[in-house]
């Protein structure tokens, strides 16, 4: 019997199993699913940011050839508001109907749907729907949404305030500031971003009149959450009659977590017309209707002792919610943001106050990093300001403030209890990679030639592996945040894994296979990963918040352990030994100390399904399901550095070097982790230099296409140098912390700090376009001339 040790796959850069299908164009995305008799939905959307609907006349449109049905909000009787899944105390939750029938509250707000035999017919007919509008005053700016405006967006929310929320100890901060050597103050804007996954949102809804079953294919990061919210909360359909399938999904970055109007309407409409209904977003619709990200305006103050130690932090943030509360919107600028304001530093006193406001803009919700990039950006800008005020080196001031190394628990001032951390180690490694001294002397030499180089740093911490259900429940989440994992061993030893996590770029088919292969000692080729289908998987919470490996992976690990335990009983019976004497190694069950006395995994599997010689009282079959609810968040951390050159004549910024040291705990597949970090950095550089959703004062989205909204491209980035430190998380048995959002959190502020270092300016708005930097240069010049 073979006893050769099987090579472990965890920790190896195994090439992604799913990629051949993607790169040869053979993935199955929602738009690739074809059903006979499918109709096409086109939405009539508001061209106004805020307008009362006086009348919708569909007469002419209904006569257009090929039109099957036209519905307005008034037709959707018995349908409830799209729910908000995270409630804060005193949160104002206005109704958010799938089709607005009283008023439209942002450009793109759908008011009618035209369903036709072809998309062209639907488009032509949609042109003929006549909406009579009564245009109302609109407001789009975050810091102008309150009482100073004449726009009143929702009756339930006077002055357009959705919530006021706070955390920390205001009195302690007051005291700390009184005793501080310096208190620096800054207005910090974290601009609005559009996620722009490569695949736009899409859905296909099919009602089977014979069985009463509804199947919805939808671009979703969490098909069970979609099913629960849509079926139970909005449409009132029993969940067992609804199957939600999120097949291959081409990127999401948070924007596909949420329940949107379009899939809800198509699911409702297919039941009316008894034919499948399809909708695929155009890029223009994506800009207008995919939940946007970030959009904070903040006044921050940080107090320092004379030696550079931080003594306190006071934060007042206005967070733009957009026109309605998207599914998890209230959590993002509160529990995912303000609880991270302790960063990786010892800050003895913190207080944060957050006001959420409604505006006549696209709803804002979680976008890669969700709250944590905002916290990191704020802290790292403030610490730079402190360094400038105290005339300290930017490296020194950080070193002085790091929380010292700890292995199991650090209580912050803002509710969280960090799992494990060694922040100085990651920073020191980064400095070595950068060769900080040389970088500074290069900078000086370049300066003598009239070239403006700048060096910027950032450190960050994030709360990942979202999350312990009890904790988030007490904070207002209307959902549990565990994960499920089912392992089905087939009679001939093949394995199908059903995970509640959802891969939309993360590579789960590879990483989860690595985990299963290692645990069961079988080749990856024998393993299939199934995800994204409520008809196949156990109830799952899906993928966001860097949670799949740590939470979803642990659920799988639990099922694998159950499989092994049951297998031991079967093997013991076959080997005529006691189950306690059986161990599992290298793909076989063996008597401890006697590797020759063994039965292979496949034989045990077969025995489980052909239980002729079988332990008394043991159930046949070899299939186990587990639900894992983590004990704590995980807290990945890291330090990034960026070197830029600023063209002094044009303000153009070129990123010359970008280096990162991330600590994401234990790593399943380094290549995949590097890929995620690379992508995150690209997004972060995008936020720093290129991206920004702009509304005009009337609430028109000026950056409504890729011609005006600039996404980062390969030539915007240098070769990235990424490395890791590894501090295992004690929060889950795999020791994983999570890596999905790290780059997007750390990169924006590293880039901005580098630019301000280059041009000697303290204030710089994102995106730091050439014009923005040139204007800052002009200001700095004027200041110098005046001085």
């Amino acid at each position: 019997m073979a006893t050769a040790t099987i090579e472990r796959l965890i920790g190896k850069s195994i090439k992604r199993r799913e990629d051949p299908r993607f790169i040869t164009g053979r993935g199955t995305y929602v738009d690739d699913v074809k059903l006979p008799g499918t109709t096409h939905a086109v939405f009539v959307r508001s061209p106004h940011a805020h307008a009362r609907i006086k009348k919708i006349d569909t007469t002419a449109a209904a006569k257009h050839p090929g039109v099957v049905a036209i519905f307005t909000g008034k037709d959707m009787t018995g349908v409830n508001s799209l729910p908000c899944g995270w409630l804060l105390p005193d949160l104002k939750v206005p109704p958010h109907m799938p089709l607005a029938s009283d008023a439209a509250r942002y450009v793109g707000d759908p008011v009618a749907v035209v369903i036709a035999e072809t998309e062209d017919a639907a488009l032509d007919a949609a042109d003929k729907v006549k909406v009579t509008w009564d245009v109302l005053p609109a407001v789009s700016a975050t810091d102008k949404a309150d009482a100073r405006t004449s726009a009143q967006i929702h009756e339930v929310a006077p002055s357009n305030v959705a919530f006021k929320w706070q955390i920390g100890d205001a009195g302690a901060v007051d005291t700390a500031f009184r005793n501080a050597a310096r208190v620096v103050k800054k207005k910090i804007v974290n601009q609005r971003l559009v996620a722009n996954p490569m695949e736009p949102r899409a859905c296909l809804a099919r009602y089977d009149a014979a069985t009463g079953d509804l199947t919805l294919w939808v671009t979703s990061q969490n098909p069970h959450v979609h099913r629960l919210l849509m079926a139970a909360f909005v449409l009132g359909i029993p969940e067992q009659k609804v199957r939600v399938i999120a097949p291959d999904v081409g990127g999401a970055f948070g924007s596909k977590i949420f329940l949107y109007n379009e899939e809800t309407i198509c699911s409702w409409a297919t039941r009316q017309i008894k034919r499948p209904v399809r909708w695929t977003s155009t890029r223009r619709e994506a800009f207008q209707t995919d939940a946007h990200g970030r959009d904070h305006v903040t006044e921050a103050e940080m107090g320092f002792a004379a030696d550079g130690k931080i003594v306190g932090l006071r934060v007042k943030t206005i967070a733009n919610m957009g026109a309605y509360l998207s599914t998890f919107a209230p959590a993002v600028p509160t529990y995912l943001y303000a609880t991270l304001l302790n960063g990786v530093y010892t800050i003895p006193a913190i207080h944060a106050h957050v006001t959420g406001v409604f505006t006549n803009t696209t709803p804002v919700d979680a976008y890669r990093g969700a709250g944590r990039p905002e916290a990191a950006y704020l802290l790292e800008r403030m610490i730079e300001a402190g360094a400038a005020a105290l005339k300290m080196d930017t490296v020194e001031i950080r070193r002085k403030n790091f929380i010292p190394k700890f292995d199991n628990g650090f209580q912050t001032q803002v509710a969280l209890n960090y799992d494990s951390g060694n922040y100085a180690a990651a920073f020191d490694k980064l400095l070595r990679m950068l060769d900080y001294r040389k970088a500074r002397s290069d900078q000086e030499a370049a300066r003598k030639q009239g070239r403006f180089l700048g060096i910027g740093f950032s450190t960050y911490i994030e709360a990942c592996s979202i999350a312990p259900s009890k904790v988030v429940g007490s904070l207002g989440a209307q959902a549990g945040l565990y994960e499920s994992g089912k392992v089905r061993v087939h009679p001939t030893g093949g394995v199908t894994v059903y995970t509640g996590s959802h891969s939309h770029g993360q590579g789960h088919e590879t990483t989860f296979s690595q985990l299963v292969a290692d645990e069961l000692g079988i080749p990856m080729e024998q393993i299939e990963i199934v995800h994204g289908d409520t008809g196949a998987i156990p109830f799952g919470m899906g993928t966001y918040g860097s949670r799949s490996a740590s939470v979803g992976g642990t659920a799988l690990l639990m099922s694998l352990n159950k499989i092994k335990e049951k297998g031991k009983k079967i093997a013991a019976h076959l080997l005529e030994a006691s189950p306690g004497d059986i161990e599992y190694a290298n793909g076989q069950f063996q008597v401890k100390g006697f590797p020759g006395k063994a039965v292979p995994f496949g034989q045990v599997a077969l025995t489980a399904y052909v239980p002729h010689k079988y332990p008394e009282g043991l159930e046949p079959g070899l299939e186990e399901t587990s639900f894992y609810d983590p004990s704590n968040f995980c807290f990945p951390f890291g330090a990034h550095a960026c070197v830029v050159e600023v063209d002094r004549d044009t303000g153009q910024v070129k990123v010359l070097r970008y280096l990162a040291v991330d600590d994401v705990g234990n790593v399943m597949n380094p290549m995949i982790v590097d890929g995620m970090v690379h992508g995150g950095i690209a997004q972060g550089v995008g936020q720093a230099l290129l991206e920004g959703a702009v509304y005009d004062k009337d609430g028109q989205l000026v950056t409504g296409s890729l011609m005006d909204y600039c996404m980062p491209r390969a030539d915007n980035l240098p070769v990235l140098k990424v490395d890791m430190t590894k501090t295992a998380s004690p929060s889950n048995p795999l020791g994983i912390k999570g890596c999905g959002e790290a780059g997007a959190i750390a990169a924006p502020v590293a880039v901005i700090n580098a630019i301000t270092d280059a041009i000697g300016s303290e204030d710089l708005a994102m995106p730091a376009t050439a014009q923005t930097v040139w204007q800052a240069l002009q200001k700095a010049n004027n200041r110098r001339e005046a001085a």
Binding site: D124, D127, T650, L689, L706, D708, T769, Q771
Partner: protein
């Protein structure tokens, strides 16, 4: 996209007669502006007259001291043509900076010039080199061709067949791309042909491509970067949008003109 009828004439004469005859007809000469506009339903021509099968509209050759480029010549051919590279390196370089490879393989010089997008590159080359736009009816000097935003001297049934560039002593094009669209936020084309100096600017003008006579006068005295020192373009008359204010665009014209003169040598 709205429904339309596509025509594929074989000769310029057929194309012109279709253009005159059919109401709401548009020429398709690469389509990199027209097709996206149609897809967004912002344009809905009833007839598209596809010039891709018309004889004699492509090709690059030197005729005497002039370069002749067929109107349907795609950007990639201008970019890679040994004839252009040898005689008009600035023009080859400009063509290589238009859009991306997909655009450069489909977009054509005639299409670009006829469209006269205020941020396009070719109008700067045509004006900056003193080109002659040759149509099925006449020869139009570049100085008289570009009339404003997306407006040209072309008559409704007139079709560009060739663009003729006179050989110059020196030329260079410096482009500051809009980071999103990669069109020119500002682009400056300078050339020197004997005593004739041209400084043509695209991207910046509120009214499309234009020449900067103050710069030209200064460079006429001496073609060198120093001649431009202290000279600037007023922000008045510049375009202003989220990508660049009038002041910034005006400032960039000065910077890019100096760089172009330096590059032209």
């Amino acid at each position: 996209m709205y429904a339309f009828t596509q025509h594929r004439p074989a000769t310029v004469r057929q194309a012109a007669s279709l253009l005159a005859k059919q109401e709401e007809a548009k020429l398709l000469a690469g389509g990199h502006t027209l097709i996206p506009t149609m897809k967004l339903r912002l344009a809905g021509p009833k007839h598209l007259i596809d010039l891709s099968k018309v004889e004699g509209l492509t090709g690059i050759e030197m005729r005497g001291r002039s370069l002749i480029v067929g109107a349907m010549t795609p950007h990639v051919e201008v970019q890679t043509s040994p004839v252009v590279k040898e005689n008009f390196p600035a023009l080859a370089e400009l063509a290589g900076k238009i859009g991306d490879p997909a655009v450069r393989h489909r977009g054509t010089i005639g299409g670009s010039i006829a469209n006269n997008d205020p941020n396009a590159d070719y109008p700067a080359a045509a004006l900056g080199l003193g080109a002659t736009i040759i149509t099925n009816k006449r020869r139009i000097p570049a100085d008289e061709f570009f009339k404003g935003l997306f407006e040209t001297a072309l008559e409704p049934d007139e079709i560009i067949t060739k663009v003729q560039f006179p050989k110059v002593n020196k030329a260079a094009y410096v482009k500051f791309p809009n980071p999103a669209s990669r069109y020119a936020l500002v682009g400056v084309f300078v050339s020197k042909r004997g005593s004739e100096i041209r400084v043509a600017v695209t991207g910046a003008g509120a009214n499309g491509v234009f020449r900067v006579s103050a710069f030209e006068q200064a460079l006429k005295k001496r073609f060198g970067v120093k001649s431009l020192e202290g000279l600037s373009v007023p922000a008045d008359g510049m375009a202003s949008d989220i990508h660049g204010s009038a002041e910034y665009r005006a400032h960039l014209i000065g910077v890019l003109a100096r760089r172009a003169v330096a590059a032209a040598g």
